[in-house]
Amino acid sequence: MHMSATDSQAQFEQVVVPHLDAAYNLARWLAGNDHDAEDIAQEASLRAFRFLSGFRGGNSRSWLLTIVRNTAYTWLKQNRPQTLVSVSDEEWLDMEDSTTLTSQSSALHHADRDVLRAALEELPVEFREVLILRELEGLSYKEIAEVADAPIGTVMSRLARARKQLQDYLAKKGEK
């Protein structure tokens, strides 16, 4: 599949540029700081440009986010391997009772932005990403499964765990 440079640029404007905010947002939440997030978002955008001919139509945002996520994980593996040594989904299930959900909504109403940010940053990266993709980017379970390269069942259990931990964290903050 050959494309001229101008074709590629036009396609890049159409497929990638509209989602640069989403790309940066995911990179920022995975990397944890502006500088590294910019590196990851830029690297991912350039990869997207190189792989444009591989984009077969469909959801361009999930397609770009998949590349961002892969780029970020490669980066994390090299620069912060410890963040990826998180508990597996099964171990995580063992650690806490999976069916107990909290219902303390009072604490939540008052959680401000900084507290929420801190709470999200506390989450293991695999759990943080599903929450970001679902709550901030509004992706469907199927799209999240594609981006995070995990079965839908795993996405669902990570979402449930992530929300539970977030609620626990916020409830604890609320008590203080």
Partner: protein
């Protein structure tokens, strides 16, 4: 349905991911169960709290500019890969040096086969240098092969030769010969082997070349073209190619 059956469905319910029938069942239960209703409310409130707390980061304007400039001014495969100026300068200088040396070494009328070999070697070197060796890291061929589904419109052979001393390490997408190609990564002791695969346009001769200290082997297998590159010696890489072709 009792509470234990409803709990796992509540997340999918608030995320509007349940089919109509299950949604109705959950709603029926919620009408009669204060406990589950409280959980549902807390999930809703968490959702709206996250949604309305301005937690999303926006791409800085300078970054946008940089990204658009980099694809507008440079052809795809030469696009800058890193925004850290010193790093980028270092890589650029390295690349220019590489190009100058390559130009000096090459005769003027470079053949198609040599051009491909050089390009494949550059990709091999870049994959090690830029720290982008793998998009999917797995020693399991049943993980690596499906990973390519939907990313490319052909299915490369993915076999593990760990028993023969060439373990499969992973795969990634790469860009070679003006197209997106599959890259498989193998190890042999301390050496890395890149196998680039794409649909063969015509049957080409199987070749083995030594260039700049690298061995480049070309094979046609079942309609796909494979270019195998490594700094491994020719003998061992040929063994690998033989295994790969079987």
């Amino acid at each position: 349905m009792n509470c234990n059956e409803i709990h796992p469905l509540l997340h999918a319910y608030v995320d509007s991911e349940l089919d109509l029938m299950r949604s109705l069942e959950v709603e029926r239960h919620l009408k009669t169960c204060a406990g589950c209703m409280a959980i549902k409310r807390s999930l809703h409130s968490l959702h709206s709290n996250l949604r309305h707390s301005d937690l999303s980061y926006q791409a800085p304007e300078a970054l946008r500019q940089r990204i658009r400039q980099s694809v507008g001014s440079a052809p795809a495969e030469n696009a800058p890969r890193n925004s850290r100026p010193w790093m980028w300068q270092f890589l650029t200088l390295g690349a220019i040096g590489f190009a100058i040396v390559a130009l000096m070494l090459q005769p003027v009328g470079i053949s198609e086969g040599d051009r491909l070999a050089d390009e494949a070697i550059s990709n091999h070197v870049r994959s090690l240098m830029a720290g982008h060796l793998m998009d999917v890291a797995s020693t399991d061929q049943h993980t690596v092969k499906p990973w390519f589904n939907g990313k490319i419109d052909f299915a490369p052979e993915v076999k593990d030769f760990a028993a023969e001393g060439f373990p499969l390490i992973g795969g990634r997408l790469d860009y070679l010969n003006s197209q997106t190609v599959a890259a498989l990564v193998y190890h042999r002791n301390q050496h890395t082997i890149n196998v680039f695969a794409w649909p063969a346009k015509s049957a080409t001769a199987d070749t083995t070349q030594d260039r700049r200290g690298y061995t480049v082997i070309n094979r046609n297998i079942n309609g796909l073209h494979y270019t195998i590159v490594s700094d491994l010696n020719t003998k061992e890489l040929s063994e690998f190619a033989k295994l790969f072709g079987e």
